[in-house]
């Protein structure tokens, strides 16, 4: 079969059947899509060993023209495949901002030509060319931004060793300096040479022309150009927002975080050798006791003062306020008893006498009085075995009837 007559369907079938090989060759070739001959042959050999459907070198280079061998020996992927494969694998190779700037230059040149062009068909051609360049530019910048965002996310994780911290710092610095800042410049509408600025002008110009043109075909063409400019402005705003509000802060953060981790790494590695810390540790003061004496004097003074520290412990009792009970004056009652010249029922007399003097007659008051029985100058006569109750405030007594009088000697 002649390769010249190879249909699109056959190319798509090749890509579909040998998707894994195409993917591995694409990945191995990045970013310039050139692969060393040895590596390329190894890829092919490995793929053929694992798959029933084999690929021949002839089919690759001559039939589907997936790649060609350079005079230096390397295999280079066909440029026509690359944008499609980038889109297919959602894996865009970063173009230098200069490449994107070239597209700005193309839009600017075509636009300048358009403004001065008077021939109808040339105007249509230029307008179509501008639309194509803008579409390419949008597609590129979208792919680049996605790629940067994904790579930045990947950069944030999977750091297993110290060299990766340094790599992170270097890569973050590189992306910021080589991509983000120049891209910002291209997209900054405040700058006269930015693509956004050209698109704004293009939008105003095409808007006027689509309304004012007499020619229907030109009117239609400027309508398309206007729509393209409006869409481009909105897409670029989104991209700018991703770059400045997400990507740049994320990269700055990765950079500063990696610097901290890198510093800590060196510190930990040299932990036993303070001279190798390179920077000085914060010299925080240690806790200082505010003493106005020297340690030796303080110790002596403490020893001296200790000599006086032999006070016997003081024991304090909690004294509760107790009601002091009134007790009868036994001498007074004995005098009464003697005056009466004796009593026939001593205990009853005690009770009656107490009742005359106080209320609430308790056992202790009663006994204070009845204890006078023990006095030697009194005689007790006790005949009856019977007892009777004497009710006191806190007790009931069973007492015998006894007779008490003074001794005769008196």
């Amino acid at each position: 079969m002649s390769n010249l007559n190879l249909s699109g369907k056959e190319i798509l079938r090749f890509l579909n059947t040998h998707y894994e090989f195409v993917h591995s060759a694409f990945a191995a070739g990045k970013p310039h899509f050139m692969i060393d001959a040895d590596k390329f042959m190894r890829l092919l050999h490995d793929y053929n060993a694992k798959n029933e459907s084999k690929i021949s070198l002839y089919r690759l280079t001559s039939e589907v023209k997936f790649c060609r061998q350079l005079s230096t020996g390397e295999y280079k992927l066909n440029r026509n495949y690359i944008p499609f494969l980038e889109y297919l694998f959602n894996d865009f190779v970063l173009n230098l901002p200069e490449t994107l700037k070239n597209r700005y230059q193309a839009v600017f040149n075509h636009f300048t030509a358009l403004k001065t062009e008077t021939t109808g068909f040339r105007v249509v051609l230029l307008a179509q060319e501008i639309i194509n360049v803008i579409e390419d530019f949008l597609s590129d910048i979208e792919g680049q931004t996605q790629r940067l965002l994904r790579d930045t996310e990947a950069l944030k994780v999977n750091v297993g060793n110290h060299s990766a911290f340094s790599t992170r710092i270097q890569r973050a610095n590189f992306w910021i300096d080589e991509y983000i800042i120049p891209l910002n410049g291209i997209l900054d509408k405040e700058r006269a040479d930015s693509i956004v600025n050209v698109i704004i002008q293009l939008q105003q110009y095409s808007n006027e022309r689509r309304l004012l043109s007499d020619n229907y075909e030109l009117k239609l063409e400027f309508e398309k150009l206007y729509a393209c400019a409006v869409n481009a402005k909105s897409e670029l705003n989104k991209t700018l927002s991703k770059l400045t509000r997400e990507l740049l802060p994320l990269l700055e953060r990765i950079k500063s975080d990696s610097i901290i981790l890198n510093g800590f790494y060196h510190f930990v590695e040299n932990i036993d050798d303070p001279k190798a810390y390179v920077a000085a540790l914060p010299h925080i003061v240690r806790r200082t006791k505010s003493s106005v004496t020297s340690k030796a004097f303080a110790a002596e003074a403490e020893f001296y003062i200790d000599q006086f520290s032999y006070l016997t412990p003081e024991i304090l009792f909690n004294e509760s306020d107790e009601d002091i009970e009134w007790l009868p004056d036994a001498a007074f009652f004995k005098e009464q008893l003697l005056k009466d010249d004796g009593v026939k029922d001593f205990y009853k007399w005690c009770l009656t006498s107490l009742e005359e003097q106080t209320e609430n007659i308790t056992l202790s008051k009663f006994f204070t009085l009845s204890n006078m029985l023990l006095d030697e100058d009194l005689v007790i006569e006790y005949k009856d075995e019977k007892r009777y109750e004497i009710k006191l405030a806190d007790a009931t007594l069973l007492m015998p009837k006894i007779k008490v009088y003074a001794k005769l000697s008196k």
Binding site: F264, F267, V285
Partner: protein
Amino acid sequence: MQSYPSEHREIVSALVDGRFVIYPNPTFVSLKLQEEEYREFFTQSYGYELVIDSEIAYLTSTEGMEKRTRDFVLFLALLCRELDYRGKNFRDAIEVGVFDMAETEQMLKQSSKWEVLEKTSVADFNEFISIWHRKNVLFRAEGQFKFTKAVKIFFDFAVNVANAKLKEVEAA
């Protein structure tokens, strides 16, 4: 005669005790208002240098230096390393996160660098956290702790080390 703010005694005892004074504590505000006077005061009275920025203040000295600072930086370095390895944003975690004491101790013990940490004051983790709580570098409560703004001086130290190392590499 120098006039002192009503928080003078609090300011001096906190700083001389090796503690950080941190905004929005009213003592920080008083200190900041008389920054120059206090700088002079600490130099003349104690020979210490007062370091104060917009949020934190502390004293430094080359003589009466807190030896456990090295242990704290080591602890912070390995905590950041472990958090980073686990895919966490270590700076957010340190600056605003709350750490469970038991979990953190466990995480450090699982680290391959625990053998370095266990020879330091970090080994008695409970006491270690209490020490740095007293210095206002950490705030500890109910089995948890969080870092205060004072932690940034240790991050600054790491940045200084990294930058010095980068210069060394560039010069070589």
